[in-house]
């Protein structure tokens, strides 16, 4: 069993270990999960190291050749007669997504340390979900990809339905159904590609060799993009996102906004743009338009929110808009920016939702106007909140800045297949959201943390505990690291988006 299979197996084995732990030992369950996700983090570090060594460019000339191929490939025939195989491998994009997922699930486990009702089921489902996420990021067979994709979506129903707050059943059902309708679109597209290619294989790389006609690509691409876009909160299919995030328990919000929504962008990039470049060119401008609405709508929506979770959820809609916007620009800069944004938004929003959970656990309210002056009693949490907020409004030195700059540059300079004026105007419109973001982030945080303490009970509240400090500390460190020395990440990602760019420029 190779390294990547272990990456899928470890969370799954941890899930089984949790299931077989007696329910009375719920404290042990937390430790099992923490150890399992810790091992996963270590494996990820090993993977990153080995990938870096294996793919390290000797000269610039070999760089592209070395970084564009897949590493740690495992191929096992599965349903041979149908061309389905167990095919896993990683490139730079996958590696960065795996790093993101490992960090989020580890911190998410720490953040759910105080889930005391039905702990066993909670962790089992959480780990099952994460198994699916890891599976998606390493799969290069479309059947396998789709299987893990749905596996990652479904546990969400129970996680929100059982442990959520507010109108949880409604939110859970809405989320599940909308996401599955999205995957229905994807499924139609997958089968169309499988049969029209005539290759009878679900192998992603082999399918890239198929010559799809322009007409075919033009009708399949929107299916794939919209299908994955539902999970990436593409306007107007984003409505599940605010409800879902606000009802979900802390770790689930973290995982969902941090990682799961990235599956949408990842799928759109990996399958949509890579396999259907002509379709992408035909629809690029249209989707840039939609995602611009996303970005503006999300940030304006966030301004209106009183609830901290809704506030973050709308800001996620806006930030995930950047991801899809980046994908739709179809430029090197834009695609790079999209992947970087997936990573930085994942970390940032994970931090946000984790902190909201921690604050809510203390104040028992999430309404912004009800809180005030909390920085005095919980300085660690307040500082972390500010760092997350500044990252989300794109302060240089933090990860968000690097990503957003790439996306905007990619959009502004445009691609040869879309009207340059239109892309320029759309980019400028999208950029305005940064100002709006600054407004809502600074205003919201100032209300919650600054000024005098408004409610007497808040005087006695405590600051972060040790697990919470570890969790937030890790996330902040990652944000700062990517913000200050982004070149490692950029190298990792840049070469891996090159195959897509090559395919795009080949046809024209």
């Amino acid at each position: 069993m190779g390294l990547l299979s272990w990456l899928i197996a470890v969370p799954f084995i941890t899930t089984l270990a949790v299931i077989f732990t007696p329910a009375s030992q719920w404290k042990a369950v937390r430790w099992i999960s923490a150890v399992g996700t810790g091992i996963q983090l270590a494996l990820t570090a090993l993977l990153t190291y080995r990938y870096w060594i294996a793919a390290a460019p000797d000269t610039t000339a070999t760089m592209v050749a070395k970084l564009t191929k897949l590493y740690f490939v495992e191929r096992i025939p599965w349903f041979e007669s149908l061309g389905i195989q167990y095919f896993v491998g990683v490139d730079g994009i996958s590696v960065s997504m795996i790093i993101l997922t490992s960090i989020i699930i580890f911190t998410g486990t720490l953040a759910s340390w105080n889930v005391e009702s039905r702990t066993k089921e909670f962790f089992a489902l959480l780990l099952l979900l994460v198994t699916g996420v890891f599976g998606v990021f390493v799969s290069f067979d479309l059947f396998l990809f789709f299987m893990f994709y749905e596996l990652a979506v479904l546990p969400m129903y129970l996680l929100i339905g059982i442990w959520g707050t507010g109108p949880k059943e409604y939110s859970a059902m809405k989320l599940t159904l909308m996401l599955l309708v999205g995957s229905a679109f994807v499924l139609v597209g997958l089968f169309a590609m499988y049969h029209v290619s005539g290759l009878h294989t679900f192998d992603l790389q082999a399918l890239a060799g198929a010559s799809f006609s322009k007409d075919f690509q033009t009708w399949v691409f929107p299916l794939i993009f919209v299908g994955f876009g539902v999970l990436g909160a593409l306007y107007p299919f984003h409505t599940w996102s605010p409800d879902g995030h606000s009802s979900a328990p802390t770790a689930v919000s973290m995982l969902h906004a941090g990682v799961l929504m990235k599956l949408g962008g990842y799928g759109a990039l990996r399958i949509g743009v890579y396999l259907l470049p002509e379709g992408a060119k035909a629809w690029g401008l249209f989707f840039m338009g939609l995602t611009t609405i996303n970005i503006l709508y999300g940030s304006l929506g966030a301004v209106m929110q009183k609830d901290l979770k809704y506030f973050t959820a709308y800001s996620s809609v806006s930030h995930c808009g950047f991801v899809l916007f980046g994908v739709a620009t179809l430029t090197v800069m834009g695609l790079k920016g999209a992947v970087l944004q997936m990573f930085s938004h994942g970390i940032m929003t994970g931090l946000f939702f984790g902190l909201i959970g921690m604050v809510y656990g203390r104040t028992h309210t999430r309404l912004i106007p009800d809180m005030g002056g909390l920085a005095k009693v919980m300085p660690w949490l307040a500082t972390s909140f500010y760092i997350a907020g500044l990252a989300s409004l794109g302060l240089p030195g933090l990860a968000g800045f690097v990503a957003e700059t790439h996306v905007f540059l990619g959009g502004f300079f445009g691609n040869p297949w879309s009207n340059p004026t239109a892309t320029g105007v759309l980019t400028i419109l999208a950029t305005m959201s940064i100002v709006v973001t600054a407004v809502y982030v600074l205003r919201g945080l100032a209300t919650v943390f600054q000024g005098p303490i408004t409610v007497a009970e808040y005087e006695t509240l405590t600051d972060a505990t040790l697990p919470e400090k570890i969790a937030t500390g890790m996330l902040i460190a990652t944000l700062v690291f990517v913000g200050v020395v982004p070149q490692y990440f950029i190298t990792l990602i840049e070469a891996s988006v090159m195959p897509m760019i090559n395919r795009l420029s080949m046809g024209s």
Partner: protein
Amino acid sequence: MLMLPEIIVVVTAMAVLVADLFLTERLRMGVTWLSLAGLAVAAGAVFATPMNGSMFGGQFVVDAVGWWFKLFFVISGFFTVLLSMDLLHGRTTCRMRGIGSPGEYYTVLLFTISGMMYLVSARDMVLLYVSLELATIPLFALAAWRREDIRSGEAGLKYVIVGALASAFILYGLGLIYGLTGQISLDAARVLKGSPAFWFAAAMLTAGIGFKLTLVPFHLWAADVFEGAPMPITAYLSVASKGTGLAFMFQLFFRMMGGWVHDWALMIALFAAVTMTLGNCVAIVQHNIKRFMAFSAISHAGVFIMGFLGPHDYGVPAMLFYLLAYIASTLALFAGIVWYSNETGRETIRDYRGLSRTNPLMALAMMLALFSLAGIPPLSGFVGKFFLFSVAAGAGFHWLVGIAAVNSTIALYNYLRIVREMYIEPVHEDGPAAPASWSLSITTAVLTTALVLLGIIPFFYNAINGSTIAWLSAVLPH
């Protein structure tokens, strides 16, 4: 001996009938053991029979597809006996009056199984018809088995009337085919050219099978019959009538009308779309779990027939594999439903609330079965549906794949209603007191394991696929 499995089942039926006369009330359990043993031996015999060969001058033929169907029928019969035994022998908390007579019950059940087994081997219109009747007429009585329950009687009566109507359609169709060819061999009809009489016959046969397979608009009987029948029979109906209908459709589309199935793809696709959509949409408003399962079965009928559309070297193994996955998932789910109804006598979806707290393992098994039916990976239901959708896409019916995939979402909504009751709602104050009996526990454990593993381990699909390739080259027109 090609007919050995059928003979074993029939002999077991006779033996059960006779043994029932001599066994005292205390030893009445013996008939159950006899039935189980007979079916187990029959399953072994199916395994032992070769995948090709014919008897009676070609009237009775065993081929790969028939082999698999027989295996599925025997397996579903075996688990139906396991599901029924608690109820028949009065070992339940909630006593149901008028059910009893285990000897006769098993005899009749075994007769229907033998009828289904003859059906897939028949290569002669009279044998086909008689075996179809053997498979369905005893089922009418099983549906009405609870004599004191007015709903059970109603179920039986409705089933008789609709079944007779379906038989009349089929008989008319077969009669016309006979008139055109002058032979009663099924294969003789394959050379027929298109003519109004032929098309009329095809329509009649399709309508008749539509009743058996609960295709819309021939589905109206299903909900009432499912609701009225005793619970284990509801389980058996939902797998057996599907299996019989599908087997009959194989006979129709691959033998009698062998050359025409491509031309009728659009019609099949429309049937599939309407059936699955209506089944799923009506299931939304059902509160009784049996009626709910009836509409779920209807919508699955729509999924099944997608396999007839496309490249048959994909379609045939995909349909067989999905049938296997469907049998495992449905019966696993019904094990839970039978247990709940045995213990409490209640059968609405609301009653399952809080089951995950009081009986976590059973709730888990039921949830897995529901997810498998909804087509959620990595369970076998997902794999089967994926293959069937792929067949439809291969035939160019991308719109149908879209409808089917959206339908999976509606189906998921339906199944999630039960999951919601089990996992999210507070505990039912008057839930089942006793844990599941050993027979139901074994059924649940075996079938849940099966429904998980069938889709992950490629062996089963590869075995079906490998054995049907030769079959296809013999059956399909070149």
